[in-house]
C-alpha cells in the first residue's frame, strides 16, 4: 500500500432512520497518520458518521473501503480487530472498576487464553496477564495517570475519566482512533492536556486520528484536515484555513434560511 493511499474510504454513504436522512451521500477519505476533524452543527450527523466507521451502523447505501479492500457488513468488534478503536461522547467506562482494569479491557481482543484459564489465573493465562499488564502500564505512563492507577473510575473527575477512556482505546493499539468530543465538558487546562495527548499519540505511534469536536480553536489547532457536515451532508472539506473561509461553513454555523 502506498503511503499516500487512504487507509479508509467512504463512498457515497447514506443512512436513514425511517424518514430521517441522518447521512446523505457523504464521501471522504481518511489518510494514514493524519488528524482529521469532523465538525458541524448539532444534529449534523457527526456521531452517526463515527458509528458507521466503526461498524455500529451499516449504511443503507454506499461503500466503505478499508486499506484498499471493500469492507463487508461487519460488527463493531470485527472493526476493532481490524484496528479501529474509539471513545464516546459521554464517557462509557466500567465505573465500578479501577483505572488499570478499565484499560485492561482494551487489551481483550489481543488475549489468547480462554475465560476459564483466566478465571483460574493459571499457566498461560498468568504469563499473558503479565504481558498485557505491561502494555497497560505503558499507556498509564504515556497518559500520566499513575496517581489514579488503582482508583475506581467512578470517583475520578470527568477530565480524568476521559483520559482513562482514551487509555482504553490506546491499549488496543489501534491504527485508527475515533474520538467523539474528547474535550467536551473540560476546563481549559484539561483541554490543553488532552490536545497534547492527542497530538502525542499521533506523533509517537503514528496513529490516524478522527475526531469530532465543537471547540473550534481546538479543531483549528490540532487537525490536519477538516470535514464539515450539515444536515447529514458534507458541505466542505480541506485544511483548517480553507474550511474557515468557506462561505457554506459560515452559513451553516451562523444559520441561513433553508
Amino acid at each position: 500500500m502506498n503511503v499516500s493511499d487512504p487507509i479508509l474510504e467512504l463512498e457515497n454513504i447514506s443512512l436513514s432512520f425511517g424518514a430521517v436522512h441522518a447521512l446523505a451521500d457523504v464521501s471522504f477519505s481518511i489518510y494514514p497518520g493524519e488528524v482529521l476533524a469532523i465538525i458541524g452543527p448539532n444534529g449534523a450527523g457527526k456521531t452517526t458518521m463515527l458509528n458507521v466507521i466503526n461498524g455500529v451502523y451499516h449504511p443503507s447505501e454506499g461503500k466503505i473501503n478499508y486499506k484498499g479492500q471493500a469492507r463487508a457488513r461487519m460488527r463493531p468488534h470485527q472493526t476493532a480487530v481490524q484496528g479501529i478503536a474509539r471513545t464516546f461522547q459521554n464517557v462509557a467506562l466500567f465505573k465500578g472498576m479501577n483505572t488499570v482494569d478499565n484499560i485492561m479491557t482494551g487489551r481483550n481482543l489481543k488475549m489468547n487464553t480462554n475465560i476459564l484459564l483466566q478465571a483460574l489465573y493459571w499457566g498461560p493465562a498468568q504469563r499473558e496477564e503479565a504481558v498485557h499488564r505491561e502494555a497497560v502500564e505503558k499507556v498509564i505512563d504515556f497518559l500520566e495517570i499513575e496517581a489514579v492507577r488503582k482508583t475506581v473510575v467512578g470517583r475520578l473527575p470527568f477530565g480524568l475519566q476521559k483520559r482513562v477512556e482514551l487509555g482504553r482505546a490506546l491499549a488496543a493499539e489501534p491504527e485508527i482512533l475515533l474520538l467523539d468530543e474528547p474535550m467536551a465538558g473540560m476546563n481549559l487546562e484539561e483541554k490543553e492536556d488532552m490536545c497534547r495527548f492527542v497530538l502525542d499519540v499521533n506523533e509517537e505511534f503514528g496513529t490516524t486520528i478522527v475526531l469530532i469536536e465543537h471547540d473550534m480553536s481546538v479543531v483549528m489547532d490540532i487537525s490536519d484536515r477538516v470535514v464539515v457536515l450539515d444536515y447529514g451532508r458534507k458541505i466542505s472539506e480541506g485544511t483548517p484555513d480553507e474550511v474557515r473561509g468557506d462561505q457554506r461553513v459560515i452559513d451553516a454555523y451562523l444559520g441561513v434560511a433553508h
Binding site: E134, E137, I140, F142, E146, A147, K150, R196, D200, E203
Partner: protein, 645 residues
C-alpha cells in the same frame, strides 16, 4: 554505618561501588514496578554520563543546571558533573522561565540537564536571553521527536557517546576524579529568599559531607536504610539527605510522580523519611477526613485510642514510665489503631521521621509522636549545609528545634539573631562578596536572620524572622509567623498572613484548604463553583471564625502574646501562589509582595468596612495572566480578655 571516608562527594560514590557495590543505591518506579540501581550500576551510569558530557565539551569549573522532579538520572548529573570538577546548579522545577533566566545568566550555565519536554520548552523560550547556555540535555524522550535543534540532546545518547569516549580515553575519568579536592565547590544552591534577588550559596564537598556524616552519626544510618526523596532537588535539605545516603550507603527512592508520593511511601516503607510540615499536616487532614466518613464503631475506637496515645504515647516513645495499665491500653491501641494506621501510611518501619523548613503545629507533631512515629525537627539554612540543630531520640518537643548538632555551635546575638558556626558553613555567595560579608560576623559566625532563644536545657527555640518581628502600637511583641503557624494547624486553613506591626491590633488574611473545606461543604450540602465562590460563603466564614477564636483563646493564655489576638479577618479570593511571587518556591510568605499587592485589603481590615471588591490577576504556569473579580467579606472575631479563660 558504612565506613566511607572519601573526601569528595563523587569519590564517595565510587567508594561505595567498590565496597558495597551490590547494595541498592537508587530506586524508581518504571511501568508500575520498582526498579533498583545498585551502587555498582550507579557508578557505571555516572561514569558514562560524565564521559559523555566531557565529549560534548564540558570542562572543569563549568556550570551545569539541573531541572526536574526527583529522578535517579538527575541525581546522577550531580555526581557526573562533580566528577569532572564542573559545578551542578539545581533549579526549582516548577519555576517559570523568567526565574530560570536570572540563575542561568548569573551562574553563566553552559549545560542544562532537564527531565522532559516541559522543561526543555521553558529553556528554549529563554535561550536567546541566555548567551552562555550551549547545550540542553533531556532525559525523558516523550514528545521530543520533532526537536531538531543541534544543541538539544537526549540523555541516553550522551551516555552512549560517553561509553565510546571512555574506551578511547581510558584514563580520562579516573584522572579527573582524582584531581578533585575536598574544598572544591560541588554545588551552588540558589536560595529563593523572601526578599530580593536569589543568591547562589556555594558549598564544598567538605561542607556537605561533614553535615551528612554528623547526621548519619547521630542517627546511625547505614546501607540497610531506605528513604523516599520527594522534596525539590534544588532545595538544600534534599541534597543533605542525598549526601547522607551517599556516605551511609543507604538507598534513595524517587516517587513515580509528585501526585503518587503517599502511595510510593506506602510501597517503599522508608526507614528514614523527611517530609515538610505541609505533608505531615496534609496527611493528618486526610486521616481526619477519612475518619469522619468511617462507621460509628471505628470512629469511637479511633477517638478512644487517640486519647490514650495523647496521654501516654509520647512518654512511651521517650522511654518514660507510664504504669502497667496504660502500657496495656497502649499495646491494645497499637494492635487495633496505631499499627494499622502506620502500616497504611507506610511508616511502620520508619525509625527516623524528620521535618523542617517551617514549624509544625503542636497537635500535628504530638499526633505522630504519640502513635509511635519518631518525628523530629531539624533546623538549618542553605548557608550551613542544611544541618544545625536536630532533636535527639527521646528528647523531642514541638516548641523547639532541638539542641545544636555535633560539631556545630550556636549562639544568640544581641537582638535575638541566631548565629551558627559549623564545618557546614558555606564558601560564600557566588559572585556576591558583599552579601557574603553581610552574612558572616567578623569572627566567622553565620548570621541566620532568624530570631530565637536558647532554652535552659540547651534546645533552640525559633521565634520568627528577625526582620519580621515587630511591635503593636501598645508596644507589645508582634511575631506574625508565630500567629500564622497557630492558624495553619487547622486543617481548614492552608495559609495565613498576619498583619499588626505598628497597628493597634492584629488582623489576618486566610487561605482556605480546598480539600478540607470542600469536604465540609459536601457534608452540609453546600454547592459551590470553585475556590473563589467557596471561600466567600457565610458558612465557611463561620467555620474559619471558630478556628480563629480558638487561636485567640490560645494566645490569651500567654501574657506577652495576648494583645496579639486576632480582631478581624478576611478570606482571600485566590490561593497565594509562588507563580505570582506571593510565596517562595519553598512556600514561605513574601510579606512585602503581599503588602504591595493587597494593600487595599489590609487597609479595609483596619477600617470598619464589612466587604471590599477586588480584581486580582493570577499568573498561569506558562506565564499568561488571568483576572479574577470578587467581593470579599470582612468579619470580626471575638477576643478573650486576659485572665478570662
Amino acid at each position: 554505618m558504612s565506613n566511607n571516608q572519601a573526601d569528595t562527594v563523587p569519590r564517595c560514590l565510587f567508594d561505595n561501588a567498590e565496597k558495597i557495590g551490590g547494595a541498592p543505591a537508587f530506586g524508581e518506579k518504571y511501568l508500575g514496578i520498582w526498579q533498583t540501581y545498585s551502587w555498582h550500576d550507579t557508578a557505571a551510569e555516572v561514569r558514562a554520563l560524565a564521559c559523555g558530557l566531557a565529549a560534548l565539551g564540558l570542562e572543569r569549573g563549568d556550570m551545569v543546571a539541573i531541572i526536574g522532579d526527583n529522578r535517579p538520572h538527575l541525581y546522577w548529573v550531580f555526581f557526573a558533573s562533580q566528577s569532572l570538577g564542573a559545578v551542578p546548579v539545581p533549579m526549582y522545577q516548577n519555576g517559570v522561565a523568567a526565574e530560570f533566566e536570572y540563575v542561568l545568566n548569573h551562574a553563566a550555565v553552559r549545560f542544562a540537564v532537564v527531565e522532559d519536554q516541559e522543561q526543555t520548552d521553558k529553556l528554549l523560550e529563554i535561550k536567546d536571553q541566555c548567551p552562555s547556555l550551549e547545550r540542553i540535555i533531556y532525559h525523558n524522550p516523550r514528545g521530543m521527536r520533532s526537536y531538531e535543534q543541534s544543541f538539544v540532546h537526549s540523555y541516553a545518547d550522551i551516555q552512549a557517546k560517553g561509553r565510546e569516549y571512555d574506551v578511547q580515553h581510558p584514563d580520562y575519568f579516573e584522572h579527573e576524579l582524582a584531581v578533585g579536592k575536598a574544598d572544591d565547590v560541588v554545588g551552588i544552591f540558589y536560595t529563593s529568599g523572601t526578599t530580593g534577588t536569589p543568591k547562589g550559596v556555594q558549598l564544598t564537598s567538605k561542607n556537605l559531607l561533614s553535615s551528612a556524616r554528623d547526621f548519619n552519626g547521630q542517627e546511625g544510618l547505614n546501607e540497610r536504610d531506605r528513604q523516599v526523596n520527594y522534596a525539590p532537588m534544588a532545595w538544600i535539605g534534599d541534597h543533605l539527605f542525598m549526601c547522607s545516603s551517599l556516605s551511609a550507603g543507604s538507598c534513595t527512592n524517587c516517587p513515580e510522580s509528585p501526585e503518587t508520593l503517599l502511595v510510593d511511601v506506602k510501597e517503599i516503607g522508608p526507614t528514614m523519611f523527611f517530609a515538610a510540615p505541609a505533608i505531615w499536616e496534609g496527611l493528618l487532614t486526610t486521616i481526619t477526613i477519612r475518619m469522619e466518613d468511617a462507621s460509628r464503631l471505628k470512629r469511637w475506637l479511633f477517638q478512644y485510642f487517640l486519647a490514650v496515645a495523647r496521654r501516654v504515647g509520647v512518654d512511651l516513645l521517650d522511654r518514660r514510665s507510664v504504669g502497667l495499665a496504660n502500657r496495656l491500653r497502649y499495646w491494645l491501641g497499637e494492635l487495633v489503631i496505631y499499627g494499622p494506621l502506620k502500616n497504611n501510611l507506610g511508616l511502620t518501619h520508619t525509625r527516623l521521621a524528620v521535618t523542617g523548613g517551617a514549624p509544625l503545629g503542636e497537635d500535628t507533631f504530638t499526633f505522630y509522636r504519640s502513635i509511635g512515629i519518631n518525628l523530629k525537627q531539624l533546623y538549618a539554612q542553605t548557608e550551613c549545609s542544611a544541618y544545625a540543630t536536630l532533636h535527639r531520640n527521646g528528647d523531642a518537643r514541638q516548641d523547639t528545634v532541638g539542641p545544636p548538632c555535633a560539631n556545630c555551635e550556636i549562639k544568640i546575638a544581641e537582638g535575638g539573631e541566631i548565629l551558627v558556626k559549623s564545618p557546614g558553613n558555606f564558601a560564600g555567595y557566588f559572585k556576591n562578596p558583599e552579601a557574603t560579608r553581610e552574612a558572616m560576623t567578623d569572627d566567622g559566625w553565620l548570621r541566620t536572620g532568624d530570631a530565637g532563644i536558647m532554652t535552659d536545657d540547651g534546645h533552640l527555640k525559633l521565634v520568627d524572622r528577625v526582620k519580621d518581628v515587630g511591635a503593636l502600637n501598645d508596644g507589645t511583641l508582634f511575631a506574625p509567623q508565630y500567629i500564622e503557624n497557630k492558624l495553619k494547624f487547622f486543617p481548614n486553613i492552608r495559609e495565613a498572613v498576619a498583619h499588626g506591626n505598628e497597628r493597634d491590633h492584629v488582623t489576618v488574611f486566610i487561605n482556605i484548604d480546598l480539600e478540607a473545606v470542600g469536604n465540609f461543604a459536601e457534608r452540609i450540602g453546600l454547592g459551590y463553583s470553585g475556590y473563589t465562590d467557596l471561600s466567600q460563603r457565610e458558612e465557611v466564614y463561620d467555620l474559619i471564625r471558630q478556628n480563629i477564636e480558638e487561636v485567640n483563646q490560645d494566645l490569651s493564655r500567654d501574657s506577652s502574646l495576648s494583645s496579639s489576638q486576632i480582631q478581624r479577618f478576611l478570606i482571600l479570593h485566590k490561593e497565594l501562589d509562588a507563580d505570582d511571587g506571593e510565596l517562595t518556591r519553598t512556600r514561605k510568605i513574601r510579606r512585602s509582595t503581599i503588602a504591595d499587592r493587597y494593600g487595599e485589603l489590609i487597609e479595609a481590615l483596619y477600617s470598619d468596612k464589612q466587604d471590599i471588591a477586588v480584581e486580582a490577576s493570577v499568573t498561569l504556569e506558562d506565564g499568561r495572566r488571568n483576572t479574577i473579580n470578587a467581593n470579599l467579606r470582612i468579619q470580626n472575631v471575638a477576643t478573650v480578655a486576659v485572665g478570662e479563660s
